[in-house]
Every structure is written in structure tokens, then in C-alpha cells.
Amino acid sequence: MESAGTSHGHGNIISEMLEEFNLQSTYGQHFFGIDLSPLSNLHLFGLDLSVNKAVVCLWLSTLITFGIIYYAGHGRGLVATGFRNMIEAIFTFIKLNVVEEALGHEGKKWLPFIGGLFFFILINNLIGLIPGSFAPTSNINVTAALAILVFIIFLIAGMIKQGPFKYWAHLAPGGLPKWMYVVLYPIEIITLFMKPLSLAIRLFANMLAGHIVIFSLLALIILFKMSLLMAPLPFLASVIMYAFEIFVALIQAYIFTILSAIYIGSAMHPEH
């Protein structure tokens, strides 16, 4: 990896590549040629609302998510075709296999939250596959925000459903000798906090790793000194990774959603 270090002035090609994911860098201030720097230091009501590439992508994916669900719900006629059919199939899958399986008959009022979570994460994952765009979910802050939201929601749901004290008492399974709880209770508390942490890190790292692999494969072209003989190989490999990334985007959105649903369900009904 000798040439890696010499390709750019500051750091090697991988450091340079990782800069792409640093939103504080100049990469973060441009979105398809639109300069976002006027908004880059926005503060309102004491909140840091600075806008960068990832924020614009968040707005876009929110709009797209709402758009496709609205489109699927307001299509003409009862018979869905084409794109509408696809959205409906995914929605039905989420409704039956995630919401109703994890939350049972109470699933109906959780549908906007769980379904919205799935489509929001899915579109956020997919939007990063557009070259020049940025996947908000490949930034730890976005996934952490979502995971913390899920954490707070399942804590509150559990405490409302079981009562604030009973919920904490039910963290560890009942019917064990007293001294076991001394060991078990701290472990359960750690497990509780590991839930959102693993949620956030899983989604973030999966998305980041996928992008880094694609970038690395393309960086191989530069490492091969742009030779026409060798360049097609990494290019083809990156195309295959792209296809795999679409699959990963779907799987990760599904996993984040079903784990959230399971956490919420088990917080409300600890015996299951």
C-alpha cells in the first residue's frame, strides 16, 4: 500500500475517503452544487439547527417517505399496480410481520410510529446510494437520535402499561433466589442501555461500512494507477456491492424496525 500515502497531500486515500463522511468538512456544505454555507450556523431558540448535506437529505427523505405513502394511500381505484403495489406489499409486510406480530392487537395505534420508522430509515438508507448524496443513517447522530427516541418510547410505554415501579421491578425475571438479583439486576440494567446503543451502532455501522466498501473498491482504480486493464475489475465489484447495498438497506431498515417493535412489545408485556 505504498501509493496510498502518496496520492494526496494530507493523509492517504482512505483518510481522504473518510473525510467524505465528515460533515464539518467542505464536503458537508455542498449538495449537488447548492452551497449550504449560509445556513451552516443556524441557531434558533437556543437550539443548534445548522444545515448541512445530511440535514438536506433528511428533509428530502422525509418528503419522499410521506409522498410515497400518501401516493399509495390516495391512488385511484382499489386495484394497485406497479409502484403503488410495491409500496403496499412492503406496508402489508410491516403491518403483519412486524407490528401485529410484536405488538399484537394493540398494534394499530403503533402503526404510524413503527411503519413510519421503517419507511423513514429505508428511504434514508436508499438516498445515500445516489452518487453525490449522503445517507443520513451513515452518521451516528441520526441513528443515535432514532435509537434514543425508541428507547424513551419503550421506557415510557412500559411504565405506562405496567406502572412506573412495576416496570423497573420486572426488568429481571421473577422467582429466583434473592442473592441472584444482586448479580442479575445490574446486568439487566446494562442490557437495557445496550439495546438502543446496539440499535444505533448496527444501523450506522452497516450503512457506513457499505459506503466505505464501495469507496474502497473505487479507490482501487486509483491505486491501480488508472490502468485501463485493471480498472474494470474494481468497477464491476463496486457495481455488485451497490446491488448488495440495496439489499442491506432493506434488511437494516427491517431489523431496526422489528427490534424496536420487539423492545416496545416486551416492555409492555414482560412475560412474553
Binding site: S15, I201, L259
Partner: protein, 74 residues
Amino acid sequence: MEGNLAHLGSGLAIGLATIGPGVGIGTIVGKTIEGMARQPESAGALRTTMFIGIAFAEALALYGFVFAILLFAK
């Protein structure tokens, strides 16, 4: 040679972190296929559960990945 010990640690972190989850995911998928072969009618439920299991195993590798990134970008 350039780089520092952090780069070495980064490579070791991701390399070692993938061993366990690799074995784990292999076991999960293998057992799932066994189950599917034995009871093809429950293949759908098994596949769903398999993905959740893979997610848990994979998370361990991803912790390593995150540490590798942290060490690399240091």
C-alpha cells in the same frame, strides 16, 4: 512504512472482531437451512428469525468496525 500504532490497532480491531460473528452467522444460517429442509412450511418464519439472529451476531463485528474507524481517524 508510515502510519502509527493506531493504524495497526485499527486493522487488528476489525480483523479480530469479524472472527466470532463470522462463525456465529455461519452457524445461524446453517441451522436455519437445516430447519428449513426439515420443515419447509415454516421457512418464512425461520428466515425472519434468522435475519434477527444475524443482526445480533453482526452487531459484534460492527462494534469492532466502529473502533477500527475511531482508531483510524485518530
